[in-house]
Symmetry: C2
Amino acid sequence: MVDENLNLLVPNEEYLKAGIHIGTKFKTKYMKDFIYKTRPDGLSVLNIEEIDKRIRILVKLLTRYEPSDIVVVSRRENGWKGVKKLAEMIGVKFFAGRYPPGLLTNTQLKDFVEAKILFITDPWPDRNAINDALKIGIPVIALCDTNNAANNIDYVVPCNNKGKKSLGLIFFLLTQGLMEAKGLHNKGQAFPFTVDDFTAE
Amino acid sequence: MVDENLNLLVPNEEYLKAGIHIGTKFKTKYMKDFIYKTRPDGLSVLNIEEIDKRIRILVKLLTRYEPSDIVVVSRRENGWKGVKKLAEMIGVKFFAGRYPPGLLTNTQLKDFVEAKILFITDPWPDRNAINDALKIGIPVIALCDTNNAANNIDYVVPCNNKGKKSLGLIFFLLTQGLMEAKGLHNKGQAFPFTVDDFTAE
């Protein structure tokens, strides 16, 4: 249980409503430590405090990079709206949809991208991007659900990386955090976007 | 086994001689995936390719920070010479010896340090530093041996974090990598230090 007085990025209720903590019935050994319990219906429940903490660290890590050196990938359609909004506000490069293998490694490709860090929505559908990142030796950050293999991932953000609401909330919090860190938004003022702006229809 | 043709930071033989891959007889669940095999005498053997890869990523992560924002901690004496040489060449802040609790959190302390990232030699002796980092929400990078609990560590560099030679080689490679990344050393030229300069007597 999350301590009610805990200082989270959004009220615990918001996390619960978005289902950010609802994993799958399948659990990999890599994700065991992030799991808080298993529900009677077999679904895993992720630890919300740890999710919150890791979204904060994610913001801090990405803040260190020039946006143009960051590549964000989401093959999964539920991530597209959030990824695109993040890119629009922060200026990161992104691939929403099929990631063309070799994009980060093959300088001959017309679309070749020089990246210093990769951020992906799911290690399985986005595995081509991971392979490219491994070849050039850049850090890989990934949203990982309970069913993901997290070997080859340098920093894991545990979460429901499948649902629209969960992905929307994550990209909302990430964009908000990066805008604050970069001075594009003042913490004291109302944030000009809602989670809906990041959430697939 | 390491592929002989693999491109490592130093020849595989150097890693073996330093015992960088020799773990303990005790294995935590956190470190299992980094273990390549168990020797007949019960000692764990870490995967050298993964160690090499993670030292490279460590360099890349630390390169993103101003040296004065990086705090390096080693309670273990075998790490002191390496930590001090790293600090001398790169300008990171460091504590070789007892870490005073509250140093990163208590602005009232005369020695208060504002850190943006923490790098420690061993999660157990350096646990006070981890607790401070957790309180202020900065990333923690740690050298972790097979007996370490790596919860609360954001980035693990698996290695023998106890032996003189192993720690010497790690701080040598880290300093070399950071000096190259910062343009303080040209890759083509002879590096002006040897591993001995980082290795406890």
